[in-house]
């Protein structure tokens, strides 16, 4: 009965077997060439894409880290520069103070020296003046004495001096 029904549908086991064998040829071809090759190609591509995405993610993270690092460095550099400027100002003030002190000392020294020099010059000038005045008086006296002094006048002077 089954054979009759199948026969009405044109079933012939030999044809079915032949067609199945034909399908097996197609299956063999597809399995070994298409599915295996394509499966590997797609898998390889997926891995490459995944790797690429991972790398991109890492690069993005690195960029973010670098950006953060840059910000930190800028902040640190600013702080360092502020510190350096502060130190420089302090140093400058110290140097200026020191220089000022030195200058004052030097000025005092120079003034002291100048005063001393002036004193010496004054003293010398005084001595010279005294000496010249004495010389001038002596020469004047000598001249007067040469011209006016007689025996009687001389004695008169000597007597007045001795008095």
């Amino acid at each position: 009965m089954i054979e009759e029904v199948l026969g009405k549908l044109g079933f012939d086991w030999k044809v079915a077997l032949a067609n199945l064998v034909n399908f097996l040829v197609i299956y063999y071809l597809l399995r070994n060439v298409v599915f295996k090759k394509l499966g590997n190609a797609i898998k390889e591509r997926q891995e490459r894409i995944k790797q690429g995405l991972d790398d991109a993610e890492k690069a993005k993270q690195s960029l973010l880290d670098a950006s953060q690092r840059k910000e930190e460095l800028i902040k640190e550099a600013y702080q360092n520069s502020q510190e350096i400027i502060g130190n420089a100002k302090e140093e400058r003030n110290k140097i200026v103070a020191h220089a000022s002190e030195e200058a004052d000392k030097e000025a005092a020294k120079i003034r002291q020296h100048a005063l001393h020099e002036a004193d010496m010059i004054l003293k010398k000038a005084d001595e010279d003046l005294t000496e010249k005045a004495a010389t001038l008086v002596l020469s004047g006296v000598e001249k007067v004495l040469k011209e006016n002094m007689t025996q009687g006048v001389n004695e008169k002077y000597i007597k007045s001096i001795l008095k």
Partner: protein, 265 residues
């Protein structure tokens, strides 16, 4: 006028026509169609995949689209990458073969090539021999998968729980009745296994053959314009039948296969 507008053609017989015989084996027009499909597929595969590259060419891209579509369809049913990977070559081949056959049937003029008054090519899927052969072959493979996964004893026990029946018989009571019902159900299950093959093959065959017959009838009524709507609809039908046939075989596989390695039975 009517003769010009319509084209009378004999409705193809339900069975294939034998073109010639080799050693007692009839070579039918559906077999020749399969040979033609195989040759075209080989040529296409060789040309498209000759230079497999990471950046695919047009041919490789086409095959990749088909591959991924089939893989996705199978994965939707199996919901397991293990089972998808395992079953992809066989069920993927069925998908591709049935799909190509169905779509080739829409190629105009293919049925008009005759030899000795018989059509030289007949859509393979509109031949019950092909669909039943495919379905039966697939069912046999699925039983082998089940035997591999559960062992021969486990596979037999899926139909008749012999160990359980033995234990029940020892307890007595209603056990003989339970045993009778179980054996009856087992017989139905065995018949059901054949019915699976017959049902999926008849569904595909019926749809494709009916499509062929309807095209012939429509051409007989009005050869211009009218059949084009049917052919357009046939493109959708061809796709649906391909998906239905392949999906059903996948469902049968999931019923037959064991759990994934590492998964609890």
């Amino acid at each position: 006028m009517q003769e010009f507008l319509s084209f009378k053609r004999d409705i193809s017989s339900i069975g294939p026509s034998t073109i010639f015989e080799i050693g007692g084996f009839p070579i039918t027009n559906s077999t020749l169609f399969m040979v033609l499909v195989t040759i075209l597929l080989i040529v296409f595969v060789v040309v498209a995949l000759r230079k497999k590259s990471l950046i695919p060419g047009k041919g490789q891209a086409f095959f990749e689209i088909v591959y991924e579509a089939v893989e996705r369809q199978i994965n939707t049913i199996t919901a397991s990458s293990y089972h998808t990977k395992r079953v992809l070559p066989i069920i993927g081949s069925i998908f591709i073969f049935v799909g190509i056959s169905n779509y080739f049937g829409l190629v105009p003029g293919l049925g008009s090539i005759t030899f000795d008054g018989k059509s030289l090519f007949r859509i393979a899927t509109s031949d019950f021999n092909t669909t039943l052969g495919l379905a039966f072959g697939a069912i046999v493979v699925l039983h082998l998968v089940s035997i591999k996964d559960f062992g021969l004893w486990g596979h037999i026990n899926k139909f008749i729980p012999i160990k359980q029946l033995g234990e029940d018989m020892k307890k007595g009571g209603l056990a003989p009745i339970y045993m009778f019902v179980t054996i009856l159900i087992a017989c139905l299950d065995i018949v059901g296994e054949f019915a699976k093959a017959v049902s999926v093959s008849l569904r595909l065959f019926g749809n494709m053959y009916a499509g062929d017959v309807l095209t012939t009838v429509l051409i007989g009524i009005f050869a211009f314009l009218l059949p084009s709507f049917w052919v357009a609809f046939g493109m959708l039908g061809a796709l649906v039948q391909t998906i239905v046939f392949g999906s059903l075989i996948t469902v049968f596989y999931m019923q037959a296969a064991g759990p994934e390695p590492g998964e609890k039975k």
